[in-house]
Subunit: 531 residues, 2 copies
């Protein structure tokens, strides 16, 4: 790829910087991932909406703070001034504000967003990348939608075959705010100190403390008191400990947050996903608009390195080695970094009860949501597939049957017969191909089927056809297999004979199971090969 | 929608002109249509690729003639100059040129394209709209890919439930060019006269003749000779007639085109779709880059009106009445007009063997393709659904089971039990919801299920639960139905009992059959209701 010149044209044959074409196996993996995620959303009654790729410039203005400089504007060619969407949250809030009859909705949206990130500043970030957002809008009893989002998150990573190899870090803005106040942070400094805590996922406490005290002028004693809290992580026993902390429970904000967490934990236990949760006091999330529970999902290998070359999760463990970032197929730096989910996480979100009112004066609509870093999930999935040498090759198309013909001297290619058989298979909903040559050679036909990993061949021959028969053959059988040369069937039963076979072939799993066709469940989880 | 102001903000709460949000039932219908179409493509071994929404400006420059003024540019914010894609063909040709190892591919692409159409000039055209392109690139034996595209087209409209209510108009550039030469059109005027013929789908011959003679300076006698040919339409008998036309068969171009058509007709007969074809000598297609067979699909109601208020197809029939254009839900003019497929058609395309070389000096890659006017197909489908008063309401979500609880005095809402049941159903892959209220009233729960058209309820009660049982009830049964109050089942068999029912319920068809859930097959075809 890259620049390419020739005598005829002087086009620069490339895509714009920070964008890419999706094709081949990447496209197959991506489609399977999007399909799997969407299926889980729909299992929980979610609907999808689709908004334009560009919005009026004024809709986006003032929503992204200093990142607003990253917004792509359309050229002023007369008429309205427009900008490419920067995320899916603001268009959703705009949609909610415009559709005032909608008082509650569970909506998901998987679509591209646009950011003019400078590669010099933030290495390798894409300028066009997919986001996958799920949000629940509406007033409900406390923590029930929040708990269902955690449950949905676990269902998604299980469906992707991650088999428990992920952790949902969870915290609560009200608890954090309470801690800051209790530790002695002046009210006007709460947000900026919270931002400093947010950096604990990539910097050690010593650096964060330095930012608090030296940059942000916080009393070192106050910082140290904060330090005692933010290192805490655990589960119910941590909640217990915090609830017994008198200073905390006397603070109204912290108390409200802890009550929420207690309820959430109870719900998560009922939903069977409490073991995937880590109550992590260092989680703060960068965005200002969160008002309640916040969360971030991490997985093995998704965590970034500390300046010492160790991931935070592994810091202190002796055997941990500095790991390289996930590389893409071109050997470049990982370019899948979705700035919305935060460095090192594969999903993130929280409750934001006040955002919709930015767009309308109508009554507030409380919201809670999560954004899946689908580009990073793609990179991790792809890497895991590549590392598993036992993994079956990923097919780029889904054809189940290749219709071929052979014959001796005077063989005319049997084109009408091959077309007729393909027609019958298509009529029965079976995925089939045949060679677009009038007289193809048999080895060419076998090669075409093999290249695409087509599992079955229907083989026509003059002699068999005159007896009302043809052969059906499973591709790739070893020498000596009793059906190596195929099985003779009646042409009259063609469709049934084919259907019977493709529904029991492992490949047909791709039709019924989002990732089954890739055997992603096996490979991603590193489980032994089952066939 | 539209402009909306309030005290708090002065946002103009709207989407940019010529764009729209997709939501609710529209989104459901759209997704079903896209899913149905994609499934047919994949049945024929097609793969999909995805290109960036914007391309380098120079890639698009010089590809669209005077329509280039409709291209949306991104603002020059430093760096590369980019434009939003105008169609999916140029990005595909760019991709082929960049990926020189790809010598053949069947690819489909369903995505949005962008045109700064002025509503004043071309009423109601969208500025952001979906295209759905399928193209076969590669060198094959003559007419085999072309025939498969016709077959795919028929499979798609059948899968959409149009049951033969569509016609593929077909012609061949080489036949047309031969006719023009044979009739005496000077070589340099062939393309412009071809453009005039292209208008026969919306203007009567008298007007087209006027354009040829008065505007384009063609000898009236030559125009009249053309007129004798371009009114012809038919099937094999027309091909026969043209092949026997000595003047034509002595013209090299016409002869090559007629040979192609003869082969194509033979293949289409084998594929069982010849009866959907109309060999129409008036079809010329606007775009210059076609080199072989060209086609356009029309359906009842998709054809535009002539100036006399009659569609071309109906002109001359006494009973035909002027029809209004398809209206969308807002009562506006039809805004689904995809300028790529031509006025009045729902799909169009042809063979273009020289386009890819515009991007690279490498060997030519012959291509043949079709673009489905998915926005117009959407409008027609939606209108047909709306006109059928017997049509079942379209559901916006896919939930199969609503888990509810009831109880007498002291009823605590059975929240943990409802959550536990929902968890079990989700674990079994069943789509389920429950009320996010701690103590919901039974009528509220029934209402929530009814509003979303959920077909089944699992009803929990203290007494039943203590006996290890619960009730399962089909929603919407009439009074007096023996199972109106539901059926008692063992909690231990919950998942099986539910699965047994939802797989036999008509609604579950939406999972296995692209449009079955909408009963679109029935309604679109105007067939009698079957339940």
């Amino acid at each position: 790829m890259g620049k390419e010149k020739d005598g005829k044209t002087s086009y620069q044959l490339k895509v714009p910087k920070g964008t890419k074409d999706w094709d081949g196996k990447d496209m197959v993996i991506r489609e399977k991932i999007f399909g799997t995620i969407s299926e889980v959303f729909r299992r929980h009654g979610a609907v999808t909406i689709d908004t334009p790729v560009f919005e009026l410039k004024e809709i986006l203005a003032g929503k992204y703070g200093e990142d607003s400089k990253l917004i792509y504007d359309l050229a002023d060619q007369g008429g309205e001034l427009c900008s490419l969407r920067y995320d899916l949250t603001v268009p959703f809030a705009r949609w909610l504000a415009m559709n005032s009859s909608v008082q509650n909705i569970k909506r998901y949206h998987i679509a591209k967003v646009y950011r003019r990130d400078q590669p010099a500043m933030t290495k390798g970030r894409m300028r066009e990348f997919y986001q996958c957002d799920f949000d629940i809008a509406g007033a409900y009893d406390p923590m029930l939608p929040d708990a269902e989002i955690m449950r949905i998150t676990c269902e998604i990573f299980e469906a992707l075959g991650w088999k428990g190899r992920y952790t949902i870090k969870i915290n609560h803005r009200k608890i954090l705010d309470g801690i800051f106040i209790v530790c002695g942070v002046p009210t006007e400094k709460v947000r900026t100190i919270s931002s400093a805590v947010d950096k604990l996922d990539k910097s050690p406490w010593s650096e964060v403390r330095k930012e608090m005290t030296e940059e942000k002028g916080l009393d070192p004693e106050v910082a140290d008191r904060i330090g005692e809290y933010v290192v805490l992580k655990g589960s119910e026993e941590l909640l217990d400990k915090l609830q017994k902390d008198e200073k905390l429970s006397n603070n109204e904000s912290a108390k409200a947050g802890l009550d929420d967490m207690a309820l959430l934990f109870r719900y998560l236990k009922t939903f069977g996903v409490l073991d995937r949760i880590s109550f992590d006091m260092s989680l703060a999330r960068g965005l200002d608009y969160y008002t309640g529970v916040i969360y971030e999902v991490i997985t093995e290998g998704s965590a970034p390195q500390t300046s010492e070359g160790q991931s935070i999760q592994q810091a202190g463990k002796k055997e941990s080695k500095p790991k390289k970032h996930v590389s893409n197929i071109d050997g470049d730096e990982d370019r899948s970094n979705d700035p919305s989910v935060g460095v090192g996480s594969v999903a993130a979100g929280g409750r934001y009860d006040n955002l919709v009112s930015m767009f309308s004066g109508k009554q507030q609509i409380p919201c809670v949501g999560i954004s899946f870093g689908v580009e990073r999930i793609f990179s991790i999935t792809k890497q895991r597939l590549a590392q598993d040498s036992s993994s079956a090759p990923i097919r780029t198309n889904e054809v189940d049957v290749y219709v071929m013909a052979f014959g001796g001297k005077g063989f005319d290619g049997l084109l009408p017969q091959r077309m007729e058989v393909a027609k019958r298979l298509w009529d029965a909903g079976i995925k089939a191909e045949f060679s677009w040559k009038v007289k193809p050679k048999l080895p060419q036909q076998f090669k075409a089927a093999e290249v695409n990993g087509v599992p079955w061949a229907v083989i026509l021959g003059d002699e068999e056809l005159s007896g009302g028969k043809c052969k059906i053959k499973q591709m790739g059988l070893e020498d000596g297999h009793p059906e190596k040369d195929g099985v003779m069937i009646e042409m009259a039963n063609l469709e049934d004979e084919v259907k019977k076979r493709i529904t029991t072939s492992p490949d047909s799993a791709s039709l019924t199971n989002g990732l089954g066709g890739l055997s992603l469940n096996e490979y991603a989880a590193g489980a032994p090969k089952t066939g």
